[in-house]
């Protein structure tokens, strides 16, 4: 059988990749996708532990996470559309109206 640590390592890697994407990409779309990556890493963690502890609660929370991810994607993309309509750009580093 596969030790849980492997899954945890995998989720850590996914998480890091997601963080890198969020921190480095300019395209807001890609940033949103990276956020999805992070969320999936979390899900993998949850499910792996639920497997290890033979407790279904982890999966329940994974479901909640997926729900939140759906909501986040919907709202984020809506914002993106509105943004593109007003600023004609989808680059995160061109949107700095709030700088001090």
């Amino acid at each position: 059988m596969v030790p849980t640590t492997h899954y945890l390592m995998l989720s850590a890697a996914l998480f890091t990749i997601g963080v890198v994407g969020v921190l480095t990409r300019r395209n807001v779309l890609i940033i949103l996708m990276s956020i999805e990556l992070i969320l999936n890493a979390v899900n993998l963690n949850l499910i792996a532990f639920s497997r290890q502890l033979s407790d279904v609660t982890g999966q329940i929370f994974a479901i909640f996470v997926i729900t939140v991810a759906a909501a986040e994607a919907a709202v984020g993309l809506g914002i993106l559309i509105a943004l593109f309509r007003t600023r004609e750009t989808v680059n995160a580093d061109e949107i700095d109206l709030l700088k001090g």
Binding site: V19, V22, L23, T24, I31, A92, D93, I95, D96, L97, L98, K99, G100
Partner: protein, 692 residues
């Protein structure tokens, strides 16, 4: 209906004021009947109110109860000033009315005669343009005149004084398209300014002397002054200057004849009945002051007498019907001042009262004649109108008899009262001279008045034929006032029926509370016999005047020309009004010193001192100050603000460096924080996490 007419005294001036406001604002849009109804109605109501006031005054006991002063609001709030009477006084002027027998008589005269003249104007001005404007001015005049006579202080009186001046200007120049009319208006205005200057200075003197302008207060303050006090003399003389201006006495009478350019009812109302008598009213109102100044009293008497005979002499030869009446007005005013001068203020006011009736009557009659002859004013082009204008003729004749002083019409009583008072004033022969002058003037008056009557209404007609065929009697709205006035001038004098003829001389007693009785001791006692003699004499004089006029202008028509040619120089001199206008214009208009010189001097003063120093200097000062302010505002006020902002900006530089507004930058900070936190945990729980 207020419980007391005295409380409602404010209605008297305010009713005409209201309708005047209405006229001058929206009168243009109102139809003529509405205009006439409003104006005459308001004046009529004022007259009724005055009647109510009069009746109420009658109801009161003679004496101080008949003096009623009502203050409405403070005009000039009190300021402390140092007076010569000693010590500080709180000077303040209230907007208030003083109702006493004198002002009651005045408002009765003003509103009554004014009402009749308003009614007359409906017919007279029917075909004139600017109907609403005319009536608006007329009502405004009523308001001002009533303010004048009701004033409780010299300043209030001055307000009315100037107001009536303005209205007289407006109404003389009513036909402003006529050059002569506007010139006459300017002349009246300017000449009056000269008098008003004196009036103003007199008022200032009063202020500095008594610390107040209120009549009662001034009268109360008189007790501090002895007879003939120079200050009082100065005050009274200055006030008299103003009176000569307003009441057309020598030397400021010149404007009145020209004022005949205005519509005839205006001449009747303003330049015969009411406004020109304002001077007399003012003098008698200030009689307390005058009685402390014998010198100025003598001046007043002299000026009055001289003016009377002088104007009468000019009236002898004038050919313009209205001008004759104008000069007669001047001479009658002279009579009044003569009365005041000899201390018989009551007699002066009495003559004022009667004169208002018959002079208004005469003017309105002449107006009717002019109306009938479609604008003709030269008596040489009249004659034989008696049958054509019966009512006008009879009423005009009544007025003439009255002014000539034939018993028992109004003129007889007042004029005779004046002459008697003059004769019996003092033992000083100077007064006898004045009396003689008055007597001669009476002769002249009778003569020129009947010259007017005969030339206008009798003899054969000299009217040009184009005018001849449409001569017509005036409409009812004009004849009714004529008749009313005729009645007035017939019986109006009876209230002053002298004691000698068994009357009580009620009018004099009526005015007693106002007039500070002069010590009767001064007056020389005369028997009734003397008085009768004088009456008969004056009657004879009047009769003589009428007979002369009859012989000259009805029986022996060649006489006037022969006399004129005999005394050509004299005739020319008188006919040209002694060249006074020319002299005035030479001296004061083109004259090198008093005219052009003074004008240029004043112009230079105005240009350089007033404009240069005053206006431009203040402007320069303002610019300087504003420059300083700008500098201060820019460098100190704004500067401090900017400094503050700059400080904040500088202090915030590091914070702004953090606030990039880039989401990812914030995320980076977050991630860095997580990394450091985990490092901390790793080293903190080393032994727990890391085995071996």
């Amino acid at each position: 209906m207020p419980q007391s007419f005295l409380d409602a005294v404010w209605l008297v001036p305010l009713l005409p004021a209201a309708s005047a406001l209405l006229m001058l604002l929206i009168g243009r849009r109102l139809p003529k009947p509405v205009v006439s109804a409003l104006c005459c109605g308001s004046v009529g109501l004022a007259f009724l109110t005055s009647l109510g006031i009069f009746v109420e005054m009658l109801g009161r006991a003679p004496g101080p109860e008949r003096v009623f002063e009502k203050t409405f609001f403070t005009w000039i709030p009190s300021v402390p000033i140092l007076t010569e009477a000693g010590g500080w006084a709180q000077f303040e002027v209230n907007w208030g009315f003083l109702v006493d027998p004198l002002s009651t008589v005045m408002i009765l005269v003003v509103t009554g005669v004014g009402f009749l003249i308003h009614v007359y104007s409906i017919g007279y001005m029917a075909h004139e343009g600017g109907y609403y404007r005319y009536f608006g001015y007329l009502n405004l005049f009523m308001f001002m005149m009533l303010t004048l006579v009701l004033a409780n202080s010299f300043l209030m009186l001055f307000v009315g004084w100037e107001g009536v001046g303005l209205c007289s200007y407006l109404l003389i120049g009513f036909w402003f398209k006529k050059k002569s009319a506007s010139d006459a208006a300017n002349k009246a205005f300017i000449v009056n300014r000269v008098g008003d200057a004196g009036f103003l200075i007199g008022m200032f003197l009063i202020i500095t002397t008594f610390g107040t302008l209120n009549f009662t207060a001034v009268n109360a303050g008189l007790s501090n002054f002895s007879m003939g006090d120079p200050t009082i003399v100065a005050i009274t003389l200055l006030l008299f200057v103003g009176a000569t201006g307003k009441s057309a006495q020598i030397p400021l009478y010149v404007w009145l004849p020209d004022a005949m350019e205005g519509p005839t009812p205006v001449s009747a109302l303003i330049h015969a009945a009411t406004m020109v008598t304002a001077g007399v009213y003012m003098v008698s109102r200030a009689n307390g002051l005058y009685q402390l100044a014998p010198l100025s009293l003598e001046v007043v008497a002299t000026v009055g007498a001289v003016t009377a005979i002088y104007a009468a002499s000019m009236g002898l030869v004038q050919n313009d019907i209205k001008r004759v009446l104008a000069y007669s007005t001047i001479s009658q005013l002279g009579y009044m001042f003569l009365a005041c001068g000899v201390g018989a203020f009551a007699a002066g006011v009495f003559h004022l009262y009667t004169h208002a009736f018959f002079k208004a009557l005469l003017f309105l009659g002449s107006g009717a004649v002019i109306h009938a002859l479609s604008g003709e004013q030269d008596i040489r082009k009249m004659g034989g109108l008696w049958s054509k204008l019966p009512i006008t003729g009879k009423t005009f004749a009544t007025g003439a008899i009255a002014i000539a002083g034939i018993f028992p019409l109004a003129g007889f009583f007042s004029k005779d009262e004046i002459l008697w008072k003059t004769f019996s004033a003092e033992a000083d022969p100077f007064f006898k001279v004045l009396w003689a002058v008055g007597l001669i003037t009476a002769l002249m008056t009778a003569f020129y008045m009947f010259r007017l009557v005969f030339l206008t209404f009798f003899g054969q007609s000299r009217v040009p034929h184009d005018v001849e065929h449409h001569i017509h009697e005036a409409p009812r709205s004009m004849t009714v006032p004529l008749m009313a006035l005729a009645v007035g001038s017939a019986v109006g004098g009876w209230i002053g029926w002298p004691a000698a003829l068994g009357g009580g001389n009620w009018f004099e007693h009526w005015l007693e509370p106002v007039m500070r009785g002069r010590g009767e001791a001064a007056a020389v006692e005369h028997s009734h016999a003397t008085e009768y003699g004088l009456m008969v004499l004056s009657l004879a004089v009047a009769g003589a005047g009428i007979w002369l006029a009859y012989t000259f202008y009805l029986k022996r028509l060649e006489l006037p020309e022969r006399l004129a040619s005999r005394f050509a120089g004299l005739y020319k001199l008188v006919y040209n009004k002694y060249y006074v206008d020319e002299i005035y214009s030479r001296v004061f208009v083109e004259g090198p010193v008093l005219g052009k010189g003074m004008g240029t001097a004043f112009a230079a003063f105005d240009a350089h001192v007033v404009d240069g120093v005053g206006v431009d200097g203040s402007a320069w000062l303002t610019r300087l100050v504003s420059r300083l302010t700008i500098w201060w505002d820019t460098w100190i006020v704004d500067g401090s603000v900017n400094l503050l902002g700059w400080l904040v900006w500088v202090l915030n530089l590091p914070a702004r460096a953090l606030q990039t507004g880039l989401v990812q930058r914030y995320a980076l900070w977050m991630a860095a924080g997580v990394v450091l936190l985990m490092l901390y945990y790793v080293q903190r729980y080393w032994s727990l996490f890391f085995s071996s």
